[in-house]
């Protein structure tokens, strides 16, 4: 059993409510932070913990906090990014639905550290029942003196508000989220200035993911030095993984980052293997934007080492032979799945979600969808595969926000690792309409590449 810091109490009946949460050690970290630590000391503790942003980018949280500008007389804001929309990702929903007070406590400690007196939870509009749960938790926290004026007699004031979005993947990008929170279209802003200097209403703002802010609670409880001991290297602490696709036990799992990908997929403690005795074909380990890997490269790095569920190991080999931890949205494909069809589905997703500000993304995502549709529907040409490669290359790096990259990478990785599946579709259009390419050689062991060559 791995160590659990976030979901350790998720099974307790009634943990959603204040009394039960408090009785089980809830708000002890808030008490410790507000009563015995200075805001700088809290930030220092988060820095020591090595906590990295759990939304997808993996940027060190303490460092992000230290960038926050603190001009006299200007309000500062903390915004909790609960816009969880990356396909394959549903972990924040779980936290908010079942452990709302853990998030509220994390927000309280983090707001205290940042000197924010007004904090917003921006939640995707489709999670329409969750604001009620969060607002109930906020009411309870108020009633028990953890929100409002002069919290627990410390002189610190805080109000937390829940804001619902209305259906836009792009609002998970922090500057688009801020625009949306200001009542506008979710068009990402050009950076700099960064939100840490000019964010919400042009005031210094920190935007952090739900899981990141919840993780601040155990960090304060056990201390940064203790937290940093969990995991491997720069992958410290625990991470929520939302597992889906063709597995026996889809769901949200908390892992301490010490287990292998193989163990995660096949162990009964986690995904429980693949249904109906089918074999593993491929996996997108960190949400739809990160590169898909065939089974062989997923389970072992190009150096022949077992791939681990850590930021570094998932990225081992870069994009040539590796992928990313991303948001922890773990999507598993069995041998019957068609990579072309799935890539088309993702291309359609990014086309739908592009905000339309930058031409490479606005036009390119539409072209990729149409070309992929042709290949999938038996109307593809061999040159279309190169055309796709060319389009994705021209999107990547040429847009204001990372949605362009996020749209380009899945197409690039699918062609990089599954080019023969694409070619088979072009060569056998009739057959491709009736059956899938299957597992082919994607699970065969690969020749080990010497470490120096990678």
């Amino acid at each position: 059993m791995g160590r659990k810091l976030l979901l350790d109490k998720a099974h307790i009946e009634g943990i959603r409510y204040y009394d039960v949460y408090r009785k089980n050690g809830g708000y002890a970290a808030a008490e410790k932070a507000l009563k015995s630590m200075s805001p700088d000391l809290v930030t220092e503790e988060v820095k020591k913990s090595g906590l990295r942003g759990r939304g997808g980018a993996g940027f060190p949280t303490g460092l992000k906090w230290s960038f926050l500008a603190k001009p006299e007389g200007v309000p500062r804001y903390l915004v909790c990014n609960a816009d969880e929309s990356e396909p394959g990702t549903f972990k924040d929903r779980y936290l908010m639905e079942f452990l709302p007070h853990l998030l509220i406590e994390g927000l309280l400690i983090s707001s205290f550290a940042l000197g924010a007196n007004r904090t917003y939870i921006y939640i995707r509009g489709e999670y329409a029942w969750i604001p009620d749960i969060l607002e109930e938790a906020i009411r309870e926290a108020h009633k028990n003196g953890w929100l409002g004026k002069n919290i627990q007699g410390t002189g610190f004031d805080l109000e937390i508000y829940v804001q619902r979005g209305a259906g836009a993947y792009i609002c998970g990008e922090e500057t688009a989220l801020i625009e949306s929170l200001e009542g506008k279209r979710g068009n990402p802003r050009i950076k700099p200035p960064f939100p840490a200097v000019k964010g919400l209403w042009q005031c210094p703002t920190v935007v952090n993911n739900v899981e990141t802010l919840a993780a601040v609670v155990p960090i304060i409880n056990i201390g940064g030095d203790e937290y940093v001991k969990i995991g491997i290297g720069k992958s410290t602490g625990t991470k929520l993984i939302s597992a889906c696709g063709n597995i026996n036990k889809p769901g949200v799992y908390e892992i301490d980052m010490t287990i292998s990908v193989e163990e995660f997929i096949y162990s009964d403690e986690y995904c429980g293997g693949i249904p109906n005795g089918k074999r593993l074909k491929a996996c997108i380990p960190g949400g739809s934007s990160v590169p898909i890997l065939p089974a062989n490269l997923l389970l072992k790095t190009a150096k022949g080492e077992p791939r681990m569920m850590t930021y570094e190991s998932l990225n081992d080999g870069g994009f040539a032979t590796g992928s990313m931890m991303g948001s922890g949205g773990f999507i598993v494909f069995d041998e019957d799945q068609c990579v072309v069809r799935h890539t088309l589905s993702l291309a359609r997703f990014y086309h739908h979600e592009s905000c339309g500000q930058c031409s490479p993304c606005r036009e390119g995502t539409g072209w990729m969808e149409r070309v992929l549709k042709n290949i999938e529907n038996g109307k593809g040409k061999m040159s279309d595969i190169d055309l796709l490669w060319d389009i994705q290359r021209k999107i990547e790096g040429n847009t204001i926000c990372p949605l362009g990259d996020a749209a380009a990478w899945p197409v690039a990785a699918a062609i990089r690792h599954f080019r023969d599946e694409f070619e088979w579709h072009v060569r056998n259009p009739e057959e491709a309409l009736k059956r899938n390419f299957g597992l082919a050689h994607y699970a065969d062991p690969l020749p080990v590449v010497a470490a120096a060559a990678v």
């Binding site: 394959g88 007004r118 979005g165 259906g167 979710g186 696709g245 799935h342």
Partner: protein, 165 residues
């Protein structure tokens, strides 16, 4: 009938505006549009949007540009029950295509269409964050997960029963 929030809803609007610093009430636009859509027949007519603009002291275009950006706002009338079925990759791996085809067949409508009795509209949507419980759809405020053909039958029957009561 002129578009007008009830007293209770107007108080809700005030409560929403109070969440933001003074003068930042434009931030209330997205929540108030949700409230308007719920209150005025499940969609946003030009009249509704103009009303929201006047409430928040915005120009109409500020409301239109937001309403047209976000996928949850319906800009034309929809049925009493809106089936929003996820079709993105992870749901696709678990058979969402079959579910969509089955709903089309059962209700005899295409994607984006409404049944002639005005009861059902079928929409396909992109990832709703329920990938582990796929295939799924949103129905009103809630998600319906682990969909099978039998479950779809049940949901349709449940809606029909409710509509007849």
């Amino acid at each position: 009938m002129a578009v007008q929030f009830s007293e209770e809803k107007l108080n809700k609007v005030k409560e929403i505006i109070a969440r933001y610093p003074e003068g930042k009430q434009k931030s209330a636009l997205i929540p108030v549009l949700h409230l308007a859509q719920e209150s005025f027949g499940g969609w946003l007519s030009a009249e509704t949007m103009d009303y929201v603009a006047s409430l928040l002291q915005l120009t109409s275009i500020e409301v239109y540009e937001v309403a047209t950006f976000y996928s949850m706002y319906n800009l034309k009338p929809v049925g009493k029950y809106l089936f929003e079925v996820c079709q993105t990759g992870p749901c696709m791996l678990r058979g969402s295509d079959d579910i969509i085809a089955y709903i089309r067949e059962k209700l005899n409508i295409g994607v984006g269409e409404t049944t002639t009795d005005g009861l059902f509209t079928l929409k396909t949507v992109e990832c709703l964050g329920a990938c582990g419980y796929a295939p799924m759809m949103q129905l009103g405020k809630h998600f319906r997960e682990h969909l099978t053909k039998a479950k779809v039958d049940e949901i349709i029957a449940e809606c029909r029963r409710e509509a007849n009561n």
